[in-house]
Amino acid sequence: MELTEIAEIEIDTLLDAIRRRYDYDFSNYARSSLKRRINGLLIKEKLEMPYQLIPRILYDEEVFNRFLSELSVTVTEMYRDPEFFRNLVESIFPVLNTYPYFKIWHAGCATGEEAYSLAVLLKEAGLLDRAKIYATDYNNKSIDIAKQGIYSAENVEVSNKGYLKAGGMHRFSDYYTNHYDAIKFNDELRNAITFAYHNLVKDGVFGEMNLIICRNVFIYFDSELQNYVLNLFNESAISKGFLCLGNKETIRFSILKDKFATLSEGNSIYRKKD
């Protein structure tokens, strides 16, 4: 047997241990990037081989928490891909405006930057009062950060530029207060978003959504898991509900592609057919 095949057994065994001990299933994550992240953790833990992680993770929950953070914390910022947000405001907000009340699910929200970006734009469109926004993630530490709505002021210039490019009509600084080197979003925005735990891999349907946003989460899943989650989104969306994926994520290669119409290929915006 080749060494690479043995290494695969090692990873499978590690993932099986995690699934049985902590009920997190990573077996359908895109394997190559999963391996890179495991290697990243090995370096931090000063270990050499994935099998060495198994006893540590089984007997020390803190090591597992670090594993989870290594896997779940993604690079995220306000108004990343401003063209997407502009497209959202121009094409989808007018449709949401026809409902007296509507629900949005932001799945895989990480530390919440995009959820606040969205809430600000809804506020400017006069839609925030009618919106119920659920933002979910499978990492409770990320959710705690998101709930606080406090972020480093370091990136505020970049965020402001993104806000304007996205079609922001006022000043981004209208929506937060400064606290030394941090910004804190206003209560109105924080109260408009319900941050909650949800694991796309094992938790169920989130019902009757008018809009589901799940960006740059699919890239970490293999095709099988993407199909599974896409089906979950299909069942969670209302008829003619919207689905937004990351700019380089597509439903084109999925068996569920016929369930949705493509509204924007470049911004990966889809609409459930019926």
Partner: protein, 195 residues
Amino acid sequence: MPNSAIEVKFIAIGVSAGGFEALNTLVTQLPADFSLPIAIVQHRSVDSGGYLAEHLNLHGQIQVKDVFDKEPISPGIVYLAPPDYHLLVERGHYFSLSRDDKVNYSRPSIDVLFESTADIYRQACLAIILTGKNSDGAMGLAKIVDSGGAAIVQDPDSAHARDMPVAAINSVPSASVLSLSQITDYLMTLDKNQN
């Protein structure tokens, strides 16, 4: 020059500063029915959009595209890593993307593509380092060769920027060092020998 009778199923190319001209020379000479898939990491800015693929499609025969996540790998297509995403190869002949941290200050990173290529294709791949001003790809090229794959580096003297080729040669002294036109000729021969 590496043996052109080797069985290659996948070609990975890494290029940085001076890459637009180098790719404009190399890719536009490849025929539309080229028998192998080619994946390219070109370091470029986040907001450069799809210009590179558009340009190469306009001036060459072979189809060039920015990769979408989980895109199947097909022969006769040149796949570009999209700006701000790492490009990886997965078992089962498809790509995946990631927005993990930058590697060698780069996203996409050549090392990331090369490492997953070595992992999946083992001896059945060829990796090429072209012009550039950093050392991304040097470590990945070593992994390609460790797994039995073939390595080519653009001759630093003929490259627009020599740092990246020099770093790659230092990392893999056994790599074949060729000019851009020799690399093009080699790819054509490799293509002919596939059938």
